[in-house]
Each structure stands twice: as structure tokens, then as C-alpha cells.
Amino acid sequence: MKDELDLGSLMKDVLGLVSDGSCGACAFFVGVVKKRGRGPVDVEMLLMESYREHADKALNRICEEVRAEYGLAFVGVWHLVGEFKLGEPVVVVAAAGEGREEVFAGLRRAVERYKREPALFKKEVYVDGSSSWIEGA
């Protein structure tokens, strides 16, 4: 069981939100599952678990605060939960604004806060069958 995102539709939706001519830049960050994890052997799969009531509040707060801090038109974070294979996306962060400098800076800020604040927990499952809950971003 896992959430899924249609990245094409999501990008179109975000661009639609900022299509009034006020924005000159829209940037996306996609976090995907990678082979190298915290353990001595390669990762085979990632399990993402969330305390949704906490995570949703934290993500809304991040989006609103980063949007205000960098003067952006839009900031959004979509995080997925469930089991994910290597290469599959588990989070998308989007930022849009008038110029690329504030958009890139705001996007990075939103990504960094996403890694620390919402109650999201990840478990790496390794190719040798072992697994480990990961602490710290």
C-alpha cells in the first residue's frame, strides 16, 4: 500500500495556480528513494509512515511561513506514505514567485524544513532483509 502522485498533473496544477502573469519562475524538488542508506548494505525499499494530523499541520505551516518569508506566490509540499522502491518519488516540493532567486531560496528552505518538522518516519529495508528506522534528517 502506498500513496501515488501523477507528477505531470501536479506540475500542471501548480502552473495553473500561478498563471496570472505575476510569476516568472516555478521550481520543483522531487525526493526519490536512493540505494545508499544509513546501513552498511544497499537499500531495497523505503517505508514512510506519518502521524497525519501532525504532519499536515506542520506542512501547512511550512508552506505559509516560507511563502511569506520569501515573498512567493505559492509553496506546496506533497509527501507520500507507504512502501517505495528505489527511484520512486516520495515527496514533491514546489515554489513559485516573481524571480528565480527567491524561488530557489524558498524551495530550499521548504525542503530543509520538510526534513525536520512534520511527523514523518522512515524505515530503510536493506537487500539482505534487515531493516532500520532512521533517526534525524
Binding site: 525526493g31 528513494v33 536512493k34 501532525h54 511527523a119 534525524g136
Partner: protein, 94 residues
């Protein structure tokens, strides 16, 4: 009064359940909740506790909002509150 909790990550796995409801005294605080969990499950959750409290890096949420550690002893609980121990958060993957 009834206080609910939810378990996540290794805590959920270790305890074999995702939630639980406790009956607590009307005058209970958030700290009392922590001590109750420690008393009941401290042996199974050794890495979550340091001394008599949660290990640094662990957080605690009341009704979906993180509560500052400095307020645990003085924050009263009320009927129906949902109190959740949050293992160290690791949302990022990259």
C-alpha cells in the same frame, strides 16, 4: 478521564499496536502521561527513555501539535486529548 495515544515507527512495532486509550486522573499532566508509558513499557522501549524522561530528540504532540519539552510538567491534560510520543523525525530522504 480518557487519554488516547497513537504509536508510530519502532514504538508501534515493539508494542504490537497502533493506538491505546488510558484512564488517567483528572489532574494529570503531559509529564504524567510520559511516566505512565515509561512505567508500562519502559522495558520494551529502552532507547526512548533516558533517566526518567524521553531521550533528547524525541518529541511529544498533544492533539497534533508538538509541545515544548519545557511545558510537559505544567501542561494539564483534558478528557479526549490525543498524546503522541514522536520518535526522532526523519522525513528527508535525500
Amino acid at each position: 478521564m480518557r487519554i488516547s495515544t497513537k504509536y508510530f515507527a519502532f514504538i508501534r512495532e515493539r508494542l504490537g499496536r497502533g493506538s491505546e486509550v488510558f484512564e488517567m486522573d483528572e489532574s494529570s499532566t503531559v509529564e504524567d502521561f510520559i511516566q505512565l508509558v515509561r512505567q508500562l513499557y519502559g522495558d520494551k522501549l529502552k532507547e526512548a527513555f533516558e533517566g526518567s524522561s524521553l531521550r533528547p530528540g524525541y518529541a511529544l504532540a498533544v492533539n497534533g501539535e508538538t509541545l515544548d519539552r519545557l511545558l510537559w510538567k505544567t501542561t494539564p491534560l483534558k478528557e479526549g486529548d490525543v498524546v503522541v510520543i514522536l520518535p526522532p523525525i526523519a522525513g528527508g530522504i535525500t
